[in-house]
């Protein structure tokens, strides 16, 4: 077992380093390291076919619980529910984007506030957070940042503060629900939480933090985004929201499918449909209704991300099976001397600091078994630790330009349009905002759960 543990750690560290160095595509890194885990750790060192089968978890597809879950259950190894759900949402989002839904929504809101910069600034922040509760933040920011730049050029204001605020709110909104950010899907499906559990816990924290964040960004950015022409906006020169719609039928269909997805997610603890079922259902109806465009939508799905998840779960499975993650849990317990407050603070802040610099998905996947073990040994409620982990990984990523996918996409769209955002400019405003929100969340968790 000692050799297996050593190899599991070496493979995991190598995987993390290769992801950070970004020389090889990350899905190849995780798949390669996953294959090494299966062969070296489980096959050669442990000689355990059971560990291999347990980690591959293919049998999950044939269990009723995977599709229809009455009682909460936890999963191990490859988290196929996460993968299926993300794949389903990717298909749906591609359909919505193709129909022009996101651009229409952005333009519609800009029109509703009569294209005034400060109201656009505030409504776009709120829209960014709300959309990110259901849709991946990459898509949200890709469209929001592009429309922001378009409006900035027409209204002659600096779009950088607005894009930075939208990025922050997208990450914040993502923390509010089970499907908002990949770490939450992993936490939720691994520990058996529902969409509603997240909404009532991390959702409330995110809601309070959103109010504080909007006020914070309004105070620090309002002077920078005052438009030269804000007093007299000639809206006739602006592109009409309806012009964003590429096909009316597809637009209506994709909007209805999105509505169904939201209803299914909000009610899944009552309907007992798992996120895997919802993901599959949404993908199937999107493909059926898109007719001859179905193949095009399928081609646009980001398979690399799905493969990345598969490899990652196998590598983390290696650490789990060899007991390494239990050592980490014991270490956290020993340094906190059984003090629950300190334990929660360590999980939240270490997750946040790590997520500010490295991909939060592998971090969350690794930490889920750690908090499971920690809850079992220390007696702390697993849900409290789960909310601390989710908030830490989701919000910590906002602090730096590389902390979360939305940050990379937002700064890239800005740079390509002549508004480069370096580390200094980014961190000057978003790092303090991240610290404020994390501090607030820590206090909230202490007060509500302890």
């Amino acid at each position: 077992m000692a050799a297996a543990s050593i190899f599991a750690v070496i493979i995991f560290v190598a995987m993390f380093l290769l992801i950070v160095l970004d020389k090889i595509e990350r899905h190849i890194v995780t798949l390669g390291c996953g294959a090494l885990t299966l062969i070296v750790v489980f096959g050669i060192c442990m000689r355990s076919g059971k560990a291999i089968l347990g980690t591959l978890a293919v049998g999950d597809f044939f269990k009723k619980d995977f599709w229809y879950q009455v009682t909460e259950s936890e999963s191990k190894g490859i988290n196929w529910a996460t993968i299926l759900f993300i794949a389903g949402m990717m298909v749906m989002v591609e359909g919505m984007a193709k129909a022009g839904f996101f651009r229409w929504l952005c333009m519609k809101i800009a029109y509703m506030v009569k294209c005034k910069t400060i109201p656009i600034f505030i409504t776009f922040m709120i829209m960014s957070a709300i959309l990110s509760m259901f849709i991946d933040s990459i898509t949200v920011i890709m469209f929001l940042a592009a429309v922001t730049i378009e409006l900035a050029q027409l209204l002659k204001f600096n779009p950088v503060p607005m894009i930075l605020s939208e990025i922050f709110c997208a990450n914040l909104g993502g923390s509010a629900t089970m499907c908002g950010d990949p770490p939450n899907i992993i936490v939720g499906t691994s520990l058996g939480f529902s969409f509603f559990d997240f909404l009532m816990n991390t959702g409330l924290i995110a809601g309070i933090c959103l109010v504080i964040s909007v006020l914070f960004f309004y105070c620090v950015f309002r002077k920078e985004i005052v438009s030269e022409s804000s007093a007299n906006v000639d809206m006739s020169k602006f592109p009409k929201p309806s012009e964003a719609i590429t096909n009316k039928k597809d637009f209506v269909t994709s909007s209805i499918i999105f509505g169904i997805a939201v209803i299914l997610l909000v009610s899944h603890s009552a309907t007992h449909l798992t996120v895997a079922s919802i993901g599959l259902f949404i993908a199937v109806i999107t493909l059926i209704t898109s007719g001859k465009n179905a193949l095009e939508l399928l081609k646009k799905v980001d398979y690399k991300t799905l493969l990345f998840f598969i490899g990652l779960f196998v590598v983390v499975g290696g650490l789990e099976e060899t007991g390494i993650l239990e050592y980490i849990a014991q270490f956290i317990e020993s340094i906190s001397h059984g003090n629950v407050m300190l334990m929660i603070a360590i999980i939240l802040w270490i997750s946040a600091i790590a997520s500010a610099f490295v991909d939060n998905i592998p971090f969350a996947a690794t930490m889920v078994p750690v908090i499971q073990s920690l809850a079992a040994t220390s007696g702390v409620d697993i849900s409290t630790l789960a909310w601390a982990l989710s908030i830490g990984t989701d919000i910590g990523g906002s602090a730096t330009p590389i902390g979360a996918s939305a940050n990379v996409v937002g700064t890239s769209v800005a740079a390509k349009n002549g508004y480069p955002i370096g580390w200094g400019k980014y961190c000057a405003k978003l790092a303090p905002a991240t610290i404020i929100v994390l501090a607030l969340s820590t206090v909230y968790i202490f007060v509500r759960y302890l």
Binding site: D22, I402, S405, V413, I421
Partner: protein, 196 residues
């Protein structure tokens, strides 16, 4: 004449830029080098100085990240803008000469591409750099090493194959053997033979 795109990669001090300019003149086509910076400055509203700061610079892997083709690195985005600009020029059917910018790979799909790589003997390169930049021998050698290292890192970051690898180019030539004018003559004949 059908489309002609001359891509010139070069070692620092080999006279690659002068050779590229001479070829542009002989074939009466525009050259894109600094012009790329001006074009992007006009398009984006950035100052030429700002773009120059990140021009032909590889991004640091530790402080940058890529997500679905997007990158937070300003260097990456400036490079992508230049690649897009070149691709659009090539797609429009225009003939031109381009210096560096991984053009031998980025424009590989265009039939009219002739890719060249200019190298030089170290002593001749030092001599040339000392004269052009008014530097001591030591300073010239240091500058050559530094510039080539930067070009190599930039190229290898954006392209899978190694900078200067002869398999990437149609022709690699040592400008120290025939001098600048002699090299231009040979290259002119080669290009004429290619576009016949």
């Amino acid at each position: 004449m059908s489309q002609l795109i001359i891509s010139v990669g070069r070692e620092f001090g080999s006279g690659g830029r002068v050779i590229a300019e001479a070829l542009a003149k002989r074939f009466d086509i525009p050259i894109y080098d600094r012009h790329l910076i001006t074009e992007i400055a006009t398009k984006t509203g950035l100052s030429a100085g700002e773009i120059e700061k990140y021009n032909e610079m590889p991004a640091s892997r530790l402080v940058s990240r890529r997500v679905r083709g997007f990158s937070n690195s300003i260097e990456d985005n400036i490079a992508e803008m230049q690649f897009d600009f070149l691709r659009k020029k090539a797609e429009s059917g225009e003939s031109f000469v381009v210096l560096g910018r991984c053009s031998e790979t980025k424009l590989r799909d265009f039939d009219g591409l002739v890719s060249l790589f200019i190298i030089g003997d170290m002593d001749k390169k030092i001599e040339r750099v000392m004269k052009v930049y008014e530097l001591s021998q030591e300073e010239a050698e240091h500058l050559i090493t530094k510039k080539d290292k930067k070009r190599k890192r930039y190229h290898n970051y954006h392209v899978g194959m190694h900078w200067g690898d002869s398999r990437l180019y149609d022709l690699t030539i040592n400008s120290s053997k025939l001098g600048i004018d002699g090299t231009v003559d040979i290259l002119e004949n080669y290009i004429k033979a290619r576009i016949k």
